[in-house]
Amino acid sequence: MKSKFILVKIILIILIISLPVFTLDSISQSKNTKNYEIKPSPKNIRESTALYVYLLWIWLVIFVLIYIFILKIKEVDRMYKMKFESYKNRDRLINTK
């Protein structure tokens, strides 16, 4: 562990992870009022707000992850183009003949 400011990095990472998890935990305490219709008609009674919040949160996390992955893809494509260390021995074209 030679790098400087290792403590700052650890605190940053913990902050990034813990904030979303804790906010979700407090929301989950609210009542889940899902009712089920078992009889012939297949309609269900509307869920409470907590479920919509959960849904929005999942989509938020998904979009953030997609954005980060797009950045990662750009990085990795760049590395491949300039034949970076780990890509040195890979062929760039497939010969179909």
Binding site: P42, L55, L93, I94
Partner: protein
Amino acid sequence: MRKFKDWFYERTGFDDFINFLKKKNVPRHMYTFWYYWGGAILVLFFIQIITGIMLLLYYKPTVEAAHKSVVKIMNEVPLGWIIRSIHRWSAYLMIAFVFVHLFSTLILKAYRKPREITWITGCLLFIITLAFGFTGYLLPWDEVSLAATKVGTDIPRTIPIIGIWITKLLRGGEDVTEETLTRFFAFHVCVLPLLIFAIIGIHLILVQKHGMSIPISIEKKKNTIPHIPFYPNFLYREIIFWLLIVGIVITLAFLFPASLGKEADLMAPTPKGVKPEWYFLFLFQTLKLFPSKILSIPGDTFAVLLILIAGIIFFFLPFLDKKPAGKSGKLITYFVYLLIIYMIVMTIWGYVS
């Protein structure tokens, strides 16, 4: 982290696998989009395993307790209805994606030499996936699913000689009884998963061995095609697709939750308007088209035999399509387009009627 990686690789040889993935290349061309669907099916299957095991913790597979246990899952078990809805929607999407994957490999002729066995294992996987859907549908033991199972297991009976044995095998006897439920449960939870794991294994190994198939039109145009490494370039792109799929499954499960009908009664009359699940509708509608007697053969037998012959042709397509690039190959592709349109029309017709 680095130290742990080195420790792990030294003992397991996992880095050989990672190096293989790094060497594996995915061609980039107009049709690369269709390469994503196979992996997407795997993700949905993984979701099915997890939600399936969770449902298995509370489901009781006897005639007396099946419906009640599903009611308990939906009412009492915390978030049970979500898990059940995710299981159902993930199943629907998995079957839909299997159709897309099947037709994309069909149209792009990915079954050409040397990928014939990959195609055959793929066809088997298609049948197993539909079997999963069929067996799983009965398990809640409600009116509609019992009726659909009665009709579905009756159809093989129309095949001469062996038909009756197929029906007996599926039903655990002449009729649909509690034995049928136990049998379907065994298939759904044990037999089919083991089968599908084995065949997916073969399918994947063959795909790694032969690499990704390049469609004929691309092969003709250039003799060298650009490509990207599978790990990490293509994998990251795939992961984006997987994230979207997970999001869509969860959204569908929340907004359109699975419902449960009245408990099934083996002695009660069949309710009106019973239809199979959407993925069987085109077959069901096709059966309805045939008149009750053609010459002296009952119409049902004719239809089922016709469908079986079509299935066999499908199965052995790589051996029948000798010149994929030539005229006969193009003809087959047009037939496939017709088939897709036919299936969609039949499904919509079955849905509406």
